[in-house]
C-alpha cells in the first residue's frame, strides 16, 4: 500500500511517501498507526499521539475505525489548517 505523509508528520518521518507491505491484521487506520509506530523512532515521534492524526483513504477522509484494506493509497496528516 502507498502511504503518504504531510506537514509535520512528513517532517518527522523524513519522507513524503513510501510503499509498504502491510501485515494482514492491519485493517483500519488505528491498526496502521499502531503498526507504523513499531518501525522506528521517527514513526514513534510522528504518531506519539495517534488520536490527533487525520487519515484519508484514496483521497477521502476516513475515521480511525473504518476499513482501509481496499485502499490504493492512505494519507496520514495533522489536523488541517487551510482556508
Amino acid at each position: 500500500m502507498k502511504i503518504l505523509y504531510f506537514a509535520w508528520v512528513r517532517e518527522r518521518i523524513g519522507k513524503p511517501e513510501e510503499e509498504i507491505d502491510l501485515p494482514g491484521n492491519v485493517k483500519t487506520p488505528s491498526d496502521l498507526l499502531a503498526f507504523l509506530r513499531t518501525r522506528g523512532p521517527e514513526y514513534e515521534s510522528a504518531f506519539e499521539e495517534p488520536d490527533v492524526i487525520r487519515v484519508a483513504a484514496d483521497q477521502t477522509h476516513v475515521e480511525h475505525d473504518m476499513p482501509i484494506t481496499d485502499a490504493r493509497e492512505v494519507a496520514l496528516f495533522p489536523p488541517m489548517t487551510g482556508g
Binding site: 504531510f6 512528513r10 484519508a56 483521497q59 494519507a75 489536523p79 488541517m80 489548517t81 487551510g82 482556508g83
Partner: protein
C-alpha cells in the same frame, strides 16, 4: 449550477471571478465573496508556506461545494485555494457564491469557509522575519465548532 474549484500557486483576481459567474446571468441578485489574506503577525512573519495534498485538495473542496449546492439555491460557486509560499498581505483563498437572494449566498459562503478550514487538506507553516523556521500553524477548536453548527441545519 456552475461549480469551479482551482488549486494553484498563482494569485487570483476576485473581480475576474465575480465577472465569470455573473456575466450574462440575469437571475443573480446577490454575490458574496470571501477572501482570506495572510496576516503579517505584527511584522514577525516573513512567509507563510502552504503544503497541500494534490488531488485530494481539489476533490475534497469539490465535495464541500457540491454539498453547499444541495443545501442552498445557488447559481454558482467558485473556490480558489493557493499553495506554496505566500507573502504577508497576499491572498490565500477565495470563495464566491451567487444566488437570486442574499441569504443563500451569505450562508453558503460561510459554510464553504467553515468546511475548507476543517476538511480541505492544506497545512500552514510559518517562516519568521528573523530567518528561522517557525512552527506549523495549529488547528483551532473554534474552527471545529464553526463546522459543527451546520450539522443540524
Amino acid at each position: 449550477m456552475d461549480i469551479t474549484v482551482r488549486i494553484q500557486s498563482d494569485d487570483f483576481d476576485a473581480a475576474a471571478e465575480i465577472r465569470k459567474l455573473t456575466e450574462g446571468n440575469g437571475d443573480i441578485g446577490a454575490v458574496v465573496t470571501f477572501t482570506g489574506l495572510c496576516r503579517d503577525e505584527k511584522g514577525t512573519l516573513a512567509t507563510l508556506e502552504l503544503e497541500h495534498y494534490p488531488g485530494m485538495a481539489e476533490a475534497e473542496i469539490r465535495r464541500i461545494a457540491d454539498e453547499a449546492a444541495t443545501r442552498w439555491p445557488l447559481n454558482g460557486v467558485t473556490v480558489i485555494h493557493r499553495y506554496g509560499k505566500i507573502a504577508p498581505g497576499a491572498n490565500i483563498v477565495l470563495v464566491v457564491t451567487t444566488s437570486a437572494h442574499r441569504t443563500a449566498a451569505f450562508e453558503a459562503a460561510e459554510f464553504l469557509m467553515d468546511f475548507l478550514k476543517t476538511r480541505a487538506p492544506f497545512w500552514k507553516k510559518e517562516w519568521l522575519a528573523d530567518g528561522t523556521s517557525g512552527d506549523w500553524v495549529e488547528a483551532h477548536d473554534r474552527d471545529d465548532s464553526a463546522a459543527e453548527r451546520w450539522k443540524n441545519t
